[in-house]
Symmetry: C2
Subunit: 202 residues, 2 copies
Amino acid sequence: MNIPSNTIDRLCKIFGQLDILGKKSIEFVSSKDLAIAIGTTEYTVRKDISLIGVTGFTRKGYEVVSLKEQLGEKLNLKTQRKACIVGLGRLGTALLDYEKFKQDGFDIVAGFDSSINKIERIHTSIDVFSVAELENVVSQCNIELGIIAVPSEHAQDIADKLVRAGVKGILNFSPVEINVNENIIYSRIDLTNALRSIAARF
Amino acid sequence: MNIPSNTIDRLCKIFGQLDILGKKSIEFVSSKDLAIAIGTTEYTVRKDISLIGVTGFTRKGYEVVSLKEQLGEKLNLKTQRKACIVGLGRLGTALLDYEKFKQDGFDIVAGFDSSINKIERIHTSIDVFSVAELENVVSQCNIELGIIAVPSEHAQDIADKLVRAGVKGILNFSPVEINVNENIIYSRIDLTNALRSIAARF
DNA sequence: AGTTATAAGTGAAAAAAATCACTAAAATCA
DNA sequence: TGATTTTAGTGATTTTTTTCACTTATAACT
C-alpha cells in the first residue's frame, strides 16, 4: 500500500515530536496531543498512524519509543545521512553550522562555494571546497542530500552537478524553481514565499 | 467567496513567478508555463486564477503585468510590510541580511536578541535591540510580521511577546511548534523536517 | 467487582481538491 | 479567407483527503 504524500509529511513531523517526547522520558502520547504538536486533528493522526500499521493502547495512547522506532523504520529515518551545502553566503554558512541537523540524523560533511576567498575566510569544523570539486567530493563521500543556497542564476547548474554526482535528494533554498529528473526527491523552501503566504492571509 | 488555502499558497507562488517574468519584460505567460514554474498542473493554475476573477487571453495566456497587479491587490501584497527577526544566532543574522526580502516587499526593520554581547558584535544597517525592548519597538514601529529564530525553549515566550506587541503574523524557524491566538497568521519552517520529508521518500 | 471515562480503530460520509473533457476564442498559417 | 492550432474558461467527474460517528478496549476510580 502506498502512503499519501501529506501523510508522509505529517509522519515526519510526528517522528520529530516523538523525539522531543522521548528525550523528556515521556512514555505514552495520545493522538490528540500529537495532533496539537504537529498542527492537525486527532482523526488525521490516527488515520496516518494506522496507515503504517502501528497500533496504540486504549486509554494510554501510543508508546513513544516503539512508535518512533517503527516510524524510523518505515520512513527510512534510522540511518545517519550525509548532506552537503552548496553556496556559503550567509544562509549557507548558517546552515553549515546548524548543530541540530547532526542530532537529527543529518550529517553535513561538506560545504561548497565558487569563491576561493569565501572558502578561505570560513572557519568551521566542516570541510569546505570549491564548486569545481563538487562532483568528485559528493560522489567520493557518498553524499545523499544536497542543499542549495546559491543565487538564482546558479541554482539549476548546481542542481545538475549534484544529480550527476549521485545525490538522491535536493533541498533548494534559492529563489527559483529548478528542474530535476523525477527520480530525485526534490523540495524547495522559498523564504519570500513563506512571508507572502502569511501576508496574503492578513 | 473565500479562496481555498492551497489556492492562496499557489497564487503567492504565481505572484513570485510573475515578478521574475516581469523583470525579464515578458508580456504574456500561459497556464502551462506557470504550472511548470510553480510545480503544479495547468488545470489547477487556471482554476486558481479564475477564482480571483482574472481572465487571460486566448492563445496568448495571461498578461504578466496586469495579473501580477491584480494578484497583488487580492493577496494584499502591494504594500511594503515591516518585519522583525528575533534571535540573532547564525540563522537569525542570515535572515537579517537576506537582501531579497526588501526587494520582495518585506522590510526587516529590527532585530532582537537576549544577549547584549551579540547585539554589540553585529554590524548591519538594521537596528538591533535587546529582547527586553521588543514589545516597545514592535508596537512603536507598527511591525506586522515577526520572524522567530530563537532556540526551542524561548520560542513560545517570544511568540507571546510578539502577539502582545501587535504583530499580525509569525513565521517560526525554531524547532518546536508554538501556540498562538487563532487570529494571528502563523506558519513554521522546520529545517530538520524539510530534510526528513526528503529522506522519507528515498 | 462494577462503573465510568478515555482513547484507539475504522468504515462511512462529507468535503475538498484535482483532473478531465469539452467549448470558445483568436492568432497563425496556407 | 478558410483551416488549424493554441490556449483560456468551466461544468462535470473523479480522486483524494479529512472528518465524523460509532465500536471496542482498558485504565482508573468507587
